[in-house]
């Protein structure tokens, strides 16, 4: 027998509420779109929609000279340009068996690490806005980032798409006041990070919002293929700069920050500490850097023609493992060119992390992943 009132059940049916977050939303970093299914304030389902930024950055270099492709790597991760260029150059150098001169290696380390600081600063500012600061950490972070950008501009002549590393070295030598300028940047940024730290880290509201939010266990993190600060926040001691020291990272003394719980707060802490460690590396590199010397491997042809073969190079970019896979069949163009974007892999478990949390927290979790949409969509 039917339950009394069962015939009216359709009147009482619950209709799901879909909320569109993005692509035109103040809190999605870039043109990312989440379709949230919401029950009251709780997220019941989350469907990420990608591809608004797809430009074929993996395919385009297959029609380019090996040197022309560097610019496309600037444009994948536009916040860690040096790190992406570096990875690509490493791959080509591995393929060709090139030896990079000492001085060029140091320039690369200094620029790469400062770029990590700039990227994390950008993240910290944007994350502060996600948590609901009215722009104060954002402006703090940007003040420091500006100093770093001025430095990059002095070195490369560019503020965003540097296009400075080349397979075999760097494009041209650094300006004369490189050392002093770099020291000034380090002092400035170090104080700025302390400011940011004082504003955010101990803030009670910030703690209440971030601690214990969307904890990820190390097993989950490894299964999901997370990398970079996302992985280290879960307590996995892994850093490519230590695990397989590329370039000259075995010469520096630095520590790797590791979180304990894998929550959003740990991700924040790890990134803040990484900035300080990066500055340490830059300081050491400035001391050890040879005053003179070549900056480009000798004997390079005008057009690079690596031997047939395949190669995978990976580096620790600010967002995690940035990998470049190149298959060459001889000739002046790669036959296959593939990028492993750290943001894309870190973003993939978004649904698992977001479901069950509040709408407001979904924004914070998305922010804590530190995505660059150009790297996700490529």
């Amino acid at each position: 027998m039917a339950r009394p009132g069962a015939e009216h059940r359709h009147d009482l049916e619950t209709i799901d509420l879909y909320i569109n977050v993005g692509p035109q939303h103040p809190a999605t970093h870039g043109v990312f779109r989440m379709i949230l299914t919401v029950n009251g304030e709780l997220v019941e389902d989350c469907e990420p929609v990608l591809g608004y930024m797809h430009r074929g950055n993996e395919k385009l270099p297959e029609n380019c000279d090996y040197r022309q492709a560097i610019g496309y790597h600037d444009r994948t991760d536009y916040l860690a340009q040096f790190n992406t260029e570096w990875t690509y150059c490493l791959a080509v150098e591995k393929l060709m068996g090139l030896e990079v001169p000492e001085r060029a290696e140091y320039i690369r380390v200094i620029l790469g690490e400062l770029n990590r600081v700039a990227s994390h600063l950008m993240w910290a500012g944007a994350f502060g806005t996600d948590v609901g600061f009215f722009g104060t950490p954002f402006m703090y972070a940007f003040r420091e980032r500006e100093v770093i950008q001025d430095f990059f501009e002095a070195v490369t002549g560019e503020r965003m798409m540097y296009n400075y590393f080349r397979p075999g070295g760097v494009a041209w030598d650094v300006p004369d006041d490189f050392q002093e300028h770099a020291r000034y940047v380090i002092d400035h940024v170090r104080r700025g990070i302390d400011d940011l730290d004082a504003l955010m880290t101990d803030n009670e509201v910030f703690l209440a919002r971030c601690r214990g939010l969307s904890p990820v266990t190390p097993e989950q993190a490894i299964n999901w293929g997370l990398s970079g600060p996302m992985l280290r926040a879960c307590g996995v001691k892994h850093d490519l700069r230590r695990a397989e020291p590329y370039s000259i990272y075995d010469r520096f003394d630095f520590e790797i920050p590791v979180g304990t719980e894998g929550d959003v707060y740990d991700r924040y802490l790890v990134r803040m500490e990484e900035m300080r460690q990066s500055l340490r590396i830059v300081e050491q590199a400035l001391k050890q850097m040879p005053k003179n010397g070549p900056i480009m491997a000798s004997g390079l042809k005008r057009v690079l023609r690596p031997p047939p073969g395949e190669v995978y190079a990976r580096t620790e970019s600010p967002r995690g493992e940035y990998g470049v896979y190149i298959v060459s069949r001889g000739g002046d163009k790669p036959w296959r060119h593939k990028v492993r974007g750290a943001s894309f892999c870190n973003l993939s478990p978004l649904r698992e992390m977001v479901v069950g949390n509040y709408v407001a927290d979904a924004i914070i979790i998305l922010g804590s992943i530190d995505i660059v949409l150009c790297e996700v969509d490529r």
Partner: protein, 415 residues
Amino acid sequence: MSPFLAEWWDLRDLGNLVGAILEWISERGAPDWVTYVLSGIVGIVAVLLWAILSQLAFIWIERRVLGRMQVRLGPNRVGPWGILQPLADALKVLAKEMVTPRNADRVLYWLAPILVVVPAILVLAVFPFSPGMVVADLNVGVLYIVAVTSTATIAVFMAGWSSSNKYSLLGAMRSVAMLISYEVVQVLALLAVPVFTGSMRLGDVVAWQDNYNAWLVFLQPLGLLAFIIASAVEVNRSPSDIAEAESEIVAGYHTEYGGIRWGMFQLAEYVAGFAVAATIVTLWLGGWTLWGLEEWVPGWLIFLAKLYGTFFLFIWMRGTLPRIRIDQLMGFAWKFLLPLMLLNVLLAGLEKVVWTETGASAGLVLPAFAVLNFALTAALIVGWGAIAGGLSPRMRAKRPLLVREVGGIYYQPLP
């Protein structure tokens, strides 16, 4: 009119000028109702002008101050130091097209911005700017403030519902939930004031503080603290601006509003902010009094200085604090502030009873109460925080572990 009707040019009380004019009119044989309607109109127009000018000034001040806090300049292009920027903004807003969404409930959509402004203006009518300088000296002033400010809730919900937009409705629901929660806190925090003063007329409250030379902030620190927090919620300012959290629900209940109707919401928010600051100043910070200085400086200047100082506090909070989540905000109201406020009312009553029963002199009793209440406030906040779970280990900052060797896992979550 005022208790000490002086010459019309006596700047200590601008009411003197009005009084002189009205006297002149009534001498010409106008009936009584003309004089008091006229006095009402003059007073309200003055308050309105003050509110709008203050708002224009404070839009600029807030943006400049926030600019300073955030190592940037703020608006500095329009006029000297950018002081004409709010005027330019107002003109821009005035000249914008009014777009009504197709699915909107038109009547409610039009009515909401009107109904949100009027109560905000109404509240300002009861505040005594200086002795006698008050538009409507109601004998239920405290209750009037509560009653009038709470009607804004309805307007906010009308705006959210009529817009037919998900963000709007979500923002409106959040807004209503937190407005009603913090209204209870606000009312109970206000309640302890008439317990001490024995009158709800705002002028009497100030006179009481003047008489005993004791601002109520010394006797009611907990009440003031709770009222400031609740007010920050009521006027939708950081850290509790979840109703219009731009990083979550775009602009909350006024997502679909543009042009002057959006400007109405902004106006209401600012004027409500002034009203809240005026309430704090009148009830807790001694109104127009400043330990005898009011003999020399016009009382309304002291009042305004205190009011702007209090309002500055809200700007400061906006520049420093992130946003609280809705469940935390609601939990804070119901689990933390509400029990404390119930205790606070009882405490105020108990102290008043002790004061009357023992018949001790005010000079002896009030300092003792002040010390006792400050100690109790600290103890209650810490103690109740520990009981209600706000001081859990999760609320403590920590540092990441620094390792030199890679490989292995260090995972130690809190239980």
